[in-house]
């Protein structure tokens, strides 16, 4: 294993219910990288992230550097509006003493919330009362609470309006700038991938292509990946339309 890499994946394959979801995936992530996973619906992007986290059984090798401290922001997060569970209590899940921490952790929670521009008063709010964008920020702050050096984001902007998406990406970018956190993210926003990613992995069961965005995000490669002509410049114009092949759920 390369001494400098934070993650090295070798011939990773995942089979679920006898269906091969991922086949022979290999790549290396260096500290400070921003790796974007792109690919059509059902390409196995979420499955790949979950395999890296050890949430799904896989064949092949996933080698994390001993220095890696992993944070994870999941794609979906369901909590009912009526559930009495506050943002503070959600963060206290990090603490062994949970509800009996007696305010000790408040300072650290407020610090984490500040990283994502959320005010301290958010502490007392119910998770279920947050808007989609606020919840996304809280989830990111939650992942940052233990001060990870690598973060895995599963579609950081799923279910958020376009202006919200911009801020989430700005936020990711600033975290990357300030702390040099390594980021692996699933994204359907090819514009953003083009701007921020240092490495792109095109996934459709197997690794179709990988490399720097300038090299990978060519019309030919994208057609190969998505199966029809696509160009990243057109994405924002067709945002939300059913015809958009890149809108991945």
């Amino acid at each position: 294993m390369n001494q400098e890499s934070i993650l090295k994946v070798e011939n990773l394959s995942v089979t679920i219910d006898r269906e091969e979801i991922l086949k022979d995936i290999s790549f290396t992530v260096m500290p400070g990288d921003v790796v974007a996973l792109i690919g059509p619906n059902g390409a196995g992007k979420t499955v790949l992230l979950k395999s890296l986290l050890g949430l799904l059984p896989y064949r092949g090798g996933v080698h994390w550097s001993p220095e890696a401290k992993i944070g994870y922001v999941p794609q979906r997060y369901n909590i009912g509006k009526s559930v009495p569970f506050t943002v503070r209590e959600f963060f206290l899940l990090h603490e062994r003493s949970f509800l009996f921490s007696g305010g000790k952790a408040d300072g650290k929670i407020i610090e984490s919330l500040a990283l994502v521009d959320m005010p301290p008063k958010t502490l007392g709010e119910r998770l279920g009362h947050l808007s989609g964008g606020e919840l996304q920020r809280v989830l990111i702050a939650w992942a940052l609470y233990q001060r990870p050096n690598i973060i895995l984001f599963d579609e950081p902007t799923a279910g958020i309006d376009v202006s919200g998406e911009q801020t989430i990406y700005n936020l990711l970018h600033s975290l990357q700038d300030r702390f040099g956190i390594t980021i692996i993210l699933v994204s359907h926003e090819l514009n953003v991938v083009f701007r921020y990613a240092t490495q792109v992995l095109c996934l459709n069961k197997s690794l179709i292509c990988s490399g720097e965005p300038q090299a990978v995000l060519t019309p030919e490669q994208l057609q190969k990946l998505y199966g029809e002509p696509t160009h990243y410049h057109h994405l924002h114009e067709t945002e939300g339309s059913a015809a958009n092949p890149n809108k991945i759920n």
């Binding site: 986290l53 050890g54 559930v83 009495p84 899940l93 939650w142």
Partner: protein, 258 residues
């Protein structure tokens, strides 16, 4: 109060302890949307109670054995999420209720179905209270893992917590408390005792911490009100306890937050 000084105070103390444990369990049942599962689960106890009576052993053990088996049945269904759990639990557990009714000797049927506060031994009451207390403490200890399984199972596993074993432990505690509570409110209504106080508490609690405390207090209040009503009017205590809980629930609707 007069009824507290009577010979049923022992039963009342044990019933209170069981109800409070049920109130604590109910918090997680309600959050996991398992209200109906819990209700149906208690019906499984009836064939166990019947077998206990027929074999001449303490019906508690029969009930617990059947509930314990039912818990693993629930786990097995949950693993295969493509099956509609509501329908299967509803059909199978109601079938076991029907079988239990046919099996139970008629003189004991009313007590098995609706409970009886009045004849509990000192040892029985003490054991019931101790086990209930153990469940409350156990729940507090695994509350973090349980909340992970409810609000963010993947995050819990990334944090390397044993969320699966805590859920199993939770279901076993549920089986235990339902088996204990059958003595007081009967197989038909015991499941409800785990749900109503928690459902009422959810209406008024602002935080999870309050949710737990209020649910336990509402459960205790239901037992006190229900037992008092039974004592003064001569009605069956089990249904009176449940109806007291329903009354509390209706009151909380007034304060319900959106």
């Amino acid at each position: 109060m007069e009824f507290l000084a009577s010979n049923i105070s022992l039963s009342l103390a044990a019933g209170l302890a069981t109800a409070m444990a049920a109130g604590a369990l109910g918090v997680f049942m309600v959050l996991k949307n398992m209200s109906l599962v819990s209700d149906a689960l208690s019906h499984v106890a009836l064939p166990g109670v019947a077998l206990g009576i027929l074999l001449g052993i303490n019906p508690f053990f029969g009930a617990f054995a059947f509930l314990f088996a039912a818990v693993f049945f629930i786990l097995a269904i949950e693993k295969r999420t493509n099956l509609p759990i509501d329908a299967i639990v509803g059909v199978l557990f109601t079938a076991s209720l029907a079988a239990g009714i046919l099996l139970t000797p008629e003189p004991e049927l009313l007590e098995a179905l609706f409970g009886d506060f009045t004849n509990i031994s000192v040892v029985g009451a003490a054991l019931t209270a101790l086990l209930s207390l153990a469940v409350v403490i156990g729940l507090i200890l695994i509350s973090r893992q349980l909340m992970f399984t409810i609000v963010a199972p993947d995050l819990g596993r990334v944090a390397k917590l044993h969320t699966k074993s805590s859920y199993l432990l939770f279901l076993i505690m549920l089986a235990l408390v339902v088996a204990l509570g059958i003595k007081f409110v009967g197989t038909l209504l015991m499941g409800t005792l785990t749900i109503i106080p928690a459902a009422a508490a959810k209406n008024v609690a602002r935080t999870f911490y309050q949710f737990g405390i209020i649910s336990i207090l509402f459960a205790a209040l239901s037992v006190i009100l229900g037992t008092a009503a039974a004592y003064y009017t001569g009605i069956l205590a089990g249904p009176a306890v449940i109806l007291s809980g329903v009354l509390i629930f209706l009151c909380t609707l007034v304060f319900k937050r959106s």
